[in-house]
Symmetry: D4
Subunit: 215 residues, 8 copies
């Protein structure tokens, strides 16, 4: 288990992370109803002795651009020990039907890299989660763009020695049993229902060495 | 893992189970925001191949008396393979300050036994969860009454060969690290927050042979 | 133009038709905000001399089963000259992940046929619209089920000499220019936004001989 | 068809244009429920390959005076390729029962001319729509004032080579079949219902060379 | 002054009378905000010694048909000394665009006559108010229908010796000073604003011999 | 009749005048539901040719102190031809149970005088209405204070040649027929119901030479 | 102190008693915010050892007539040991301005007597509270009617050996220090504010032998 | 009785004091529904001749830190004759599970002392109320922290010659008859129900020499 006594874990991202969290940031009962609150509940129930503090500053609709704008107040000022970022869906979403898509992916990578370089030295650990689409057809236009995002996230995780959470792989693993769109609230293939969020939470926890017996 | 392909698991009880579930019964996104939805999310995320269906018919404020009154519509008619019951807090709550308490515990046991005998033959498995108080002082008047309930539930679980979930023990296990009242929403020592519900969900899942790796 | 002076056109179906219409049935300003109101607005603006009356009895969530249950009150009692039916999405939706899917399509066809036989003699004309998915990948599990529905609807249209509206073909025709999911409100690939509804309205109007110049 | 690939069309005006659009400006699903959203839906459904963007900055209650005050933020800053203006009802409405009416029409013309001169050079095309009254009696006091507005708009359209949309003529064309007040929401003879808005949308589209077959 | 000590005056009709009155009937502060409450306020302020009781059972949307259906509960059971009826707008409104209009006026007259004959013997006095349109153009289609109603009401008033209130005449009398549509709430030419209701109230009071000095 | 063609009449005061008027000031349909709207309705219905404009800037809870603070924006800037003031109830109300009451009445007089001197020269006419209590016992502590206010208002009306409206006298005149508290909404003896407001409106209109026949 | 261990005290009446209590009856936190909850709070805080249960079945607007209609469900079925009744304000209120007032007081007495005779034998004790008016002028028309009610209540208390609570006397006792109308919420002289309710609660408690030291 | 004619008593604290009071401060009917309004009601009902004014500036969630921040506006500017403070629950609450607890109690004492020294010279009298927990087990972690707060409050009361209100002792005195948690609204052991607030109000009143007979 990588997190230690009294560590503060900050989780940030877009609407998938937000899920109705409190403002200015979510904590305890105000983490929203997505994977962030599930991660916190599992950490507290299974590792009560660690007193890990979890914060959530996800904001619905955010791209890396908006994240950059609120970086000081929503990330750096909170002085986390661990930081988890999952972003990119809205960067991609807005490109649908625009020829400048690839160029945008470059902007996405550059912005993310800049943020990582800024924060990495002050952290005990960084966690990078890929975006995903609840769609198993890799030729789908949106899925394809998401996969390209995922490749970027993986590359950055390797470069900066971050914990890598491959959320798309976690969903693909259940795709033979579950029609993936069914895991999304309102079938939009983006916002997970409770079970979909648990797939994310489990992938996250596995990546940080969580153990169900609390060892 | 005791549950099998396409099994239906019905979870019933009082407000701790209810947690804002849908009417006439909760399923999928309508399971409320308590341990029932956490159990479902973990079962679906970890055992997608089993396609287990989870239903919730908890009703806030219920004692065994009210459960008995809605037994046909809320339990039997739903024809569950597995049934989980957690009830008793309100039976006890109402006795505070009344001399006829012990007599009431007898009524509690008798009613619960009658319900178990009625449903047991039609089930693949029965799960009995004790009520609890988020209080570590065993001399506390309310905790003491809860413990007596717990003894009854344990006895019934043994008699009828049910899966036994000792929720009080699960909470006591974290009491050295967490001041228990803190795990209750609004500090009432009865209604858990998200982490408290996860303690319940984990105790439940451990009792039915759940394995984090999905084996 | 197939509709004539003072004809009453009844449009029924599921949530795609409903769109917030008035109860017990929608008319004029109470047709909801979907293709039904667009069809009415175009008919009244372009053919004011025909005084065509349009009614809407779509009900969100309906399958052929629920349509059958409300057939008397919502269709026959309203004595339409023309009747348009678009149903099937919910019949299919609920089958996702169930092995008995094919059997269900048979039920779908049988129920629809029974309704058609019941009403056809009293109509001036029947209009059958296929269900659709805003998805261009024909191998997608849900799209594939929808296409099977469409085949059934086409067969019934031919058998009973109904006007046939191939909504999936109408959407496929714009798929090279528009990523189809983008035409759905909230990206669920089922409920169209305003432009998506206009694709439906236009396919409908073309099928009944509508002419933009009102001739 | 006068609009071309990727053109931005800005529609502005008063409450007849506003119709509950989003702020600061409406686009896609936020265009309100009037002729602006109908125009967009028809353009997108019939000419998907053009990817025309439609914006709406109508504001309920506006006269040319208020339009002038918000000209920078609501028109110029949005840098439209095409601009459509329909305004004047409120300029006229407020004059009822005042002797200085004619003087006001002069103010109306002057303000509108000033705005046109300011924006014309930066546009691909300008569209001017007359105001109207849903009243066929040309001697009616309000209709008469509206007609005087219409004359001004027509003169300006000719002077500045704008596309001219004669909305009053479009309504007069259906007046032999429909009692015009009936086309207004709540019978106020100003705010159209869905069919009335479609009369406006069709007149608009005809003026810009729209073709139902999308050619 | 025709009303006497302790007389009960029942005013009934459609939405013009209703104006948000209490249910099952309005009295004192529950008379709604139209002419009925103005009539009551003026009677009580100017003739306090008469203790006249005013009731209101107007119902929005009513034609003579609906009035007939609620005649027992809303008129006869209240045992008024004086009864005032103003109805017909909705009878006419619904005929717009229908060839069977004249026939309908006959139905209107017959139903009204039947109600009058039923109640007349039990009354101290009957008051019949014409419907009206806030439109001075007598050739307007709706105004013309209203005037035909007015002729019927006048004929009935003469036949049955009722107090006759010519509301259209009262509005026509101010038409040279006020553009009539301006007297309607939301300019629909049917529902008066406060001043329009006062025109009705004054015509009513003049007809029953009201005197501003209370003599 | 003292008011003339196109005169603007501004009515101000406390909650008795306010009655839910629009902000920043009430006009036409926004005059609230008290005597101000009744005065306007009667002036417009009976003297349509005068086109008198009525404004209302009453504010609930105001004493002369608050009126003084908003004097510029709520009175002077509106440039009325005629101004009517009714204030004092809250000045008195707050004194109940305080020994410094008489001193306060002096403050009341001084503030009112100062406002009158400030505005008088710019007016065609000033109207001063006394406050009142819906209580006929002149020995009642609150009534007695109100009467002292009334004496001050009368004195000021004489000094500054204002139209004087003795509202208490108007209510006393009906006290032999009506138990006065009954004329107050909620029996608080301060806020009139509809009939009570008409007593005020009639006293006001009589004082300015209003004639029911409009002469 | 007249109440004893485990006694149930039922308090009933009109809106003065109701004060927003729970339905079907108020208890503990559901007693409303009037004298009933103050009585309960003082009894529980000062005499905790007695475990007295207090119920409230007051209903806003009730006269003795309505109390009689709900007598079985709201009084007898609750099997109180002690019953307190305060009613009459609405009986009197409705008589204002009616010549048959005295006759009504007889009806009031007769109904109240009948209820007392029906319940007295089953009670440990009956408590009768007079109605009151927050008005010190005994010549006031409403106060005078209230005093006549009070005489009746006193007579009945003597006849049936009930505890008598003279609420009017309790208010008169503070009238030299407090202008009584000020003790009513919204100055209606009927519904007390918090301090006014405490005057009632104190008069009630003094009458049953309550002692601040709990002896 | 320590309070005298026309004294102003300001009560401040956290949510236990706040109880929904008005802003910027509560008075009369705006004191909230806790002990502050009960104290006021008892003082006014029993000592009407003293005309004591009671203000409430409690703020939910406050610790001594927040109280310090609003000290000028919420305490000093109101210029009370008497000041009552009850604070500390939130200071303690937040320490649960933190090792720096004791240090915090020192901060609590220092801040409170500083505030007392600042205000004491301007007061007729200071009243210090201890915080409490509705828990009779003195070994409970939260109760133990509360008791340490109480020791500090008592020490400060002695040092600064303040009236001391031992609220915990008042609750302990009823603990043999009432299970204390039952006195809290929602069983959180912090926020009292009506009876619990009356225990506080009575302890407060006893400490200032209140006498039920008003002597």
């Amino acid at each position: 288990m990588k997190l230690q006594l009294n560590d503060t874990l900050l989780i940030t991202g877009d609407s998938i992370t937000d899920c109705g969290r409190d403002r200015p940031f979510g904590e305890s009962g105000g983490l929203g109803n997505g994977y962030a609150s599930q991660v916190f509940a599992l950490l507290k129930a299974v590792y009560p002795q660690l007193h890990i503090r979890v914060l959530n500053t996800g904001v619905g609709g955010d791209t890396t651009l908006e994240l950059e704008e609120r970086w000081e107040t929503d990330v750096k000022n909170l002085k986390p020990d661990w930081l988890s970022i999952m972003i990119g869906t809205n960067d991609v979403w807005r490109q649908i039907g625009k020829p400048e898509a690839e160029q945008s992916l470059t902007a996405y990578e550059n912005r993310l890299r800049k943020l990582i370089e800024d924060i990495k030295p002050s952290l005990k650990g960084l966690i990078l989660m890929t975006p995903y689409l609840l769609e198993s057809n890799k030729n789908d236009r949106m899925r394809s763009l998401m996969d390209q995002c995922g490749v970027i996230v993986k590359k950055l995780a390797e470069e900066y020695d971050a914990v890598f959470v491959d959320t798309q792989a976690a969903f693909d693993a259940v795709a033979s049993d579950i029609y993936l769109a069914e895991l999304s609230f309102n079938w939009d293939r983006v916002h997970p229902d409770g079970a979909g969020h648990m797939v994310l939470a489990r992938a996250f926890l596995n990546a940080i060495g969580f153990n169900w017996e609390g060892k």
